[in-house]
């Protein structure tokens, strides 16, 4: 048992500076790792497949060390999900996409494959489509239960997904999510793609996190090449990532309140969010800063008056944000909706290694910027807010605190932005090398894995959205709440559909 834990021995610096060593493990070690996950002695950072087999990225919460295990296979692997619930959906996705079956898995229903793709196991061993039976939702039994199906198209302007509520009166007895509607086959598009196209796809995996995704992907490519990125590029990446976090958190704070019919917060936060996007547009030439980060550095330097523009933005947000926080905190009718609603227990957040505000509102203090530090955050001062009440209110407050932290971070970055180039050419070669990237997006830690192919291409790649380990927790958080509070809970989680569906 000790053996498998000792395999998880890579420091953040190891992962970020060099190709990640492939550690092929046998049946015993794989199962030992799955059991360790079940005992919560290690955390699951990702579970995915490639033509090499099935990969599992692990982290030891105590030491912060990482490890990547590979179970070589072309057909099946021992189920991790039977020991660790967070692995069940990734295993179902692996079966849909690669056809690798998780042996002994408690749930064998398809996940991303809705029987409409024309082929099964698309990028793997593409077999012709067979009739797929209707999807079996999990049963709920009891007196006077009724079901409410919602989606995939929802009432608002949001992404597609299906929610199946079983309710007694207004109270939710069980929520089951069915996702995969936004499945675009990003894994298959990455296979053999030139690195530039891979970066573009990574930046469009979840549009609200385009900066964080492009950064994670770039980190993975840079690690696989063992290359160093110019310092100024790292700082500019940090600037973009914090602007992205600010825009999203500001938008979320307003939108959550709007779901409690408190439109005033929404209007004011919407103004602040728009100001961030306009500043990003002025400084970097794109409102969402898409395609600004690429392997080797960043695509464009700060324009001459960029620092002043961003500095004005900070002043503007600071001048207005405090009053909005007081408005939230002094509106009992609003707090009545958010306090105690959609509570997620710290125990579940820890077991699923939930990242972002979902984890940090429920006692899991992990933030990749701190827990697995990378430049420029290793040289910046900031706090990682954490609470344990785990309700909608807590997730709002984590965002409020993080807005304040991001404002301070942007200020530090502007104050000490180093001079120099913003891009370095990628070295040639490196075929077969693998790299891992881990970046804290606004919603949590994004993991990127790539294998370099011949002549500047990607052999294979995988991008793991934080939502994989947050979506299942929403099902738990809503239990016992009323259906009318679901929009509040859902928005406070704000999981990505596209990032999850890949």
């Amino acid at each position: 048992m000790a053996d498998i834990l000792e395999c998880i021995d890579l420091s953040s610096a190891d992962v970020r500076s060099a190709p990640i060593p492939e550690r092929a493990v046998g049946l015993m070690e794989w199962v030992a790792a799955a059991e360790a996950l079940g005992r919560d002695t290690v955390e699951l950072m990702g579970l995915w497949a490639s033509r090499r087999g099935v990969h599992m990225a692990l982290r030891r919460p105590g030491t912060g060390r990482l490890g990547l295990l590979t179970y070589p296979t072309d057909s099946s692997f021992p189920s991790v999900g039977r020991h660790h619930a967070a692995a069940q959906r990734p295993e179902r996705a692996i079966r849909d996409i690669y056809g690798f079956v998780a042996e002994g898995a408690p749930d064998l229903r398809p996940w991303l494959d809705h029987g409409r793709l024309g082929v099964h196991h698309p990028p793997g061993t593409a077999t012709p489509v067979m009739e797929m039976p209707a999807y079996d939702f999990l049963p709920a039994e009891g007196e006077s239960l009724h079901q409410v199906p919602v989606g995939p198209i929802h009432a608002g302007i949001i992404e597609p997904g299906h929610f199946r509520f079983t309710a007694q009166g207004e109270t939710v007895v069980r929520l089951e999510e069915r996702l995969g509607y936004a499945h675009k086959g990003i894994g298959s598009l990455l296979r053999g793609a030139p690195i530039a196209r891979g970066t573009m796809l990574a930046g469009r995996t979840s549009g609200d996190s385009t900066v964080a995704y492009a950064w994670a992907f770039s980190q993975a490519v840079e690690a696989a090449h063992g290359m160093t990125v110019p310092d100024r590029a790292l700082w500019l990446r940090g600037l973009m990532a914090e602007l992205e976090r600010l825009a999203n958190h500001l938008g979320d704070i307003g939108a959550i309140c709007n779901d409690a019919a408190f439109a005033m917060m929404h209007a004011h936060c919407g103004v602040l969010r728009e100001r961030v996007l306009r500043a990003a547009d002025a400084v970097f030439g794109h409102r969402l800063m898409q395609d600004m980060i690429r392997p080797g550095g960043v695509a464009r330097d700060l324009r001459a008056d960029g620092a002043a523009l961003v500095s004005d933005l900070l002043g503007d947000i600071r001048a207005r944000f405090g009053a909005l926080v007081r408005l939230y905190d002094n509106s009992p009718s609003l707090l009545d909706r958010t306090v105690g609603t959609g509570r997620l227990s710290p125990d579940l957040a820890a077991r699923f290694a939930a990242g972002g505000f979902v984890g940090r509102a429920s006692g899991r203090a992990f933030d990749a910027r701190r827990g697995l530090p990378y430049g420029p955050y290793d040289r910046l001062a900031f706090d990682v807010p954490c609470r344990s009440d785990g309700d909608v209110n807590a997730r709002i407050w984590i965002r409020i605190e993080e807005v304040r932290q991001s404002l301070a971070l942007v200020e530090q970055i502007l104050d000490s932005l180093p001079a120099g180039p913003v891009f370095a050419d990628l070295p040639e070669g490196g075929s077969g090398a693998m790299g891992l990237g881990l970046v804290e997006g606004f919603r949590g830690d994004i993991l990127a894995w790539i294998e370099i192919g011949p002549e500047g291409t990607i052999a294979e790649g995988y991008l793991r959205d934080p939502s994989w380990f947050q979506w299942p927790l929403l099902e738990a958080a809503i239990e016992g709440n009323i259906i009318a509070d679901f929009p509040l809970c859902n928005k406070s989680f704000n999981c990505s559909y596209s990032g999850h569906d890949l």
């Binding site: 793709l117 198209i153 597609p160 499945h183 103004v271 408005l327």
Partner: protein, 173 residues
């Protein structure tokens, strides 16, 4: 709260003044839009947004249309929750195979006369996801498209301009 409300009243719109070109463009857009929508549908146009598999970037910018800067309801444009209340389906994303049926059903549920707008590069031709086994293609692979608004994602101002073009095209009928 009272202070914020009072400030809102006394200081006018919270938003900073738009850049000169953009302000001129917005005003021009506004008056053109008013004439066009009145011609076809009286004074308002109801839009049902459908994400057919986008990365959610387009949704961010479509949502921005409702903020204080763009405030699309000034023009009689509004987003509605049901396709049964809609005149226009505003579709984003490449149409994934998993979403094609839902999109078709939303279209079928929309009463005529109805128009389909493909917003964003993916909705136009599948964008960078074209060719994937999981993607059917752009919106026109599934249904007739009346207007295409390019961009990745389209800027809110481009979305507004696009809707004007749609209305102008219709009003020539």
């Amino acid at each position: 709260m009272r202070r914020l409300l009072l400030e809102g009243l006394l200081r006018g719109p919270l938003g900073e003044p738009l850049a000169r070109e953009e302000a001129a463009e917005r005003d021009a857009l506004g008056s053109k839009l008013v004439r066009a929508t009145r011609h076809v549908l009286g004074r308002s146009l109801s839009i049902r947004e459908v994400d057919a598999g986008s990365c959610n970037g387009c949704e961010l910018e479509i949502n921005a249309l409702s903020n204080a800067f763009y405030d699309l309801e000034r023009f009689g444009l509004r987003f509605v929750a049901s396709p049964r209340h809609a005149d226009v389906l505003l579709v984003t994303g490449p149409v994934t195979r998993n979403m094609a049926e839902a999109l078709q059903r939303a279209y079928d549920a929309t009463p005529a006369p109805k128009w389909v707008v493909a917003a964003g590069d993916c909705a136009i031709d599948g964008g960078c996801f074209a060719g994937s086994y999981a993607v059917q293609g752009g919106v026109s692979a599934v249904m007739h498209v009346d207007l295409k608004i390019p961009g990745c994602p389209p800027r809110p101002s481009a979305l507004l301009r696009g809707l004007v073009e749609l209305m102008e095209g219709r009003s020539n009928d």
